[in-house]
Symmetry: C2
Subunit: 427 residues, 2 copies
Amino acid sequence: MKREIDNKRESRRGFLKNIAASVVAAGTLAPSLLKADDPNLIEEPEWGKKLGLPVDKYLYGQPSPYEHNVVRRVHELLSSGDMYASVAMCPIHELDGIITPNGLFFNRCHGGVAIIDPNKYRLLIHGMVEKPLVLTLEDIKKYPSESVIHFIECPANGSTEWRAPQFNTLQFLKGMMSQAEWTGVRLKHILKDAGIKEGAKWVLAEGSDNSHMGRTIPLEKILDDAMVVWAQNGEALRPEQGYPIRLLVPGWEGNLNIKWLGRIEIGDKPWHAKEETSKYTMLMPSGKAIRFFWPMEVNSVITRPCPDKPWTHLKKGDVVEIEGLAWSGHGRIKGVDISFDGGKNWVEAKLKGLVLPKAWTRFSYIYKWEGEPLLLSSRAYDEVGNVQPTIDQEVGKMGVENIYHRNAIVTWEVKANGEVHNVQIRS
Amino acid sequence: MKREIDNKRESRRGFLKNIAASVVAAGTLAPSLLKADDPNLIEEPEWGKKLGLPVDKYLYGQPSPYEHNVVRRVHELLSSGDMYASVAMCPIHELDGIITPNGLFFNRCHGGVAIIDPNKYRLLIHGMVEKPLVLTLEDIKKYPSESVIHFIECPANGSTEWRAPQFNTLQFLKGMMSQAEWTGVRLKHILKDAGIKEGAKWVLAEGSDNSHMGRTIPLEKILDDAMVVWAQNGEALRPEQGYPIRLLVPGWEGNLNIKWLGRIEIGDKPWHAKEETSKYTMLMPSGKAIRFFWPMEVNSVITRPCPDKPWTHLKKGDVVEIEGLAWSGHGRIKGVDISFDGGKNWVEAKLKGLVLPKAWTRFSYIYKWEGEPLLLSSRAYDEVGNVQPTIDQEVGKMGVENIYHRNAIVTWEVKANGEVHNVQIRS
């Protein structure tokens, strides 16, 4: 009475499978406690019949070889023509929860990944201070530390979408962001030791790598919640995240979170650095550009179903969990609405898990799909009153020449066959 | 006027360093914004003068080569004589925050690391149920998911210390634990589809690897908060953590969190499996053994300073942050006390960051050290009233023949030269 196991996907209500009856293989090192006459016996899998790999092969662990497709990816449309000023996008469609593992954290570089000897690392703090400081890594680590969970998002995330949908994958659409637990010291503690002079208003943060990425940040933000961090999800920063020290500017543009941080200069006016004049400015319909647009706006995207994860595509009769990520650089996510008709009607999703300030928050909605075509959208709002705009609202204000800070509502078209496609809803 | 940078460690109050004056190197691809006549110029580091590594080298990222010593480690005293029934200890002395990166999560195996093809994976649910189930990985992932942060600790953590201090390293003393964000489905949802029969009281969870690790768990706990999980810190479980599916039994003995989970059987009495009779029992002074000792008790340890991290050793005049980890399998940590004299007097530490149930919680105490010898201890208490015992209290009750559930107060001796040693305080 040996029967085949049915591999086909079935609905939540149809979990009962045909059960293959076979005896437990003889010679197993440690036999299962399953009784030989149990009618529910399933075939002993091959990995149950032999020893696994020795423990000493896993002193620093790696993912399963079966997960080799879950990697950051580089797309030529999103790079600057070489692999040094480039960006590797996070596979956010494959992530669960709110932590991005360090090996998958998105990687935006302006001059390649600097490899720094931590013993030679120094952080210079100078400008309008009483006592300029040159700190070693150990000096920095002696300050009282804090650990915080925040996303980092490049303001160019979603930049391809201003005119029309470009990508039918969530990874390339919104993968220029990730989230980690960061550990470091509040910059205000270090600046207290340096002694900020009266009249100081601005801070220049500059990388020590060859791109010398430099950005001007208001002193008020630096004293509020900015940190210099050395750890990411418990271990030292990865090289591509600025090892051994990066700046963390919670909720603000990713490029302000300077990697391989080399110096902090205090001043009374902005520096007008290259990366805040020729780049990271917002070109408006008037032909003028907005500069110093710092916080990342309230945003959200549905991660399940999504185009690049075919097993999440819907099947008629399925009861599915529609799930996604919401975030705001202004504070906590207060709520997320879901629409099934491209924004005409909305229902409230549930926030699940931790709801932290300036952090990815998961939302969820249980839905039974009967095969009707959907225009599936999410709309997040944050605790200070920001709501995601429609595309019409955003384009009406910002035009389409701009690259940055795209936070308009994203819509997936779910076709009658269950396939999921990136579309844009315009009036 | 070129001066040397002073590399010596200095106190928190002495951060001002001599500053080396040199010009920014000519030929830098992107020059720093530092003005050439700034008296605070420091030498341009070598990594600022050349391009870094290309972004495409980091599609799945790895730690800095300078962190090669931060790995799990195997000690023969803690293994069973081969590398298949072995344990690789987590470098908890090197961790920051409360997340353990997946590559460093401790690894206890009974028959090596099984490598499982996720397409061939099946989970059998049977016994006292209305409808036995055989679930594929996709079937499991279609249930509504949850993400939770919990530690997993082997009950043998600290097992070498029952008679006298064995290890002068935190990694070997307490590294048989780690913490992650886990994503999966509550087992109660799956068991609802199977239909639990009247009279059922016990659950057997068994691994599909060749060790067929099997443990009996009360149905009440399974229905309370147990989960089958597929993700760890956002990505698929690592092979050594049970890829593609492990059981999560929050707060209870690590060995109950069955890896490579193969089946769940429901019954009305315990199974008396090998791993709950010949092992994982508590041998008492009477000669009898306690079985089914499930929850991990309230516990704590100071991670900074600690013996195996010399740069955290104290220096006279230093103002330092004494920091550590506290945890309880019974719920949230309510508080942690610190003693500087081996437990005669106690002061209250501050809990910092997230304080989650059945989860590592960081504690902190700022202290100025004037060179006096210390006996530095921490004592945690949880929200349901458990307090860490002294060694005398624990040994008085449990004897010294036992291996498991060591949660007596740990003490570091800080010598006048700042060195840190593992000692035991007995009356």
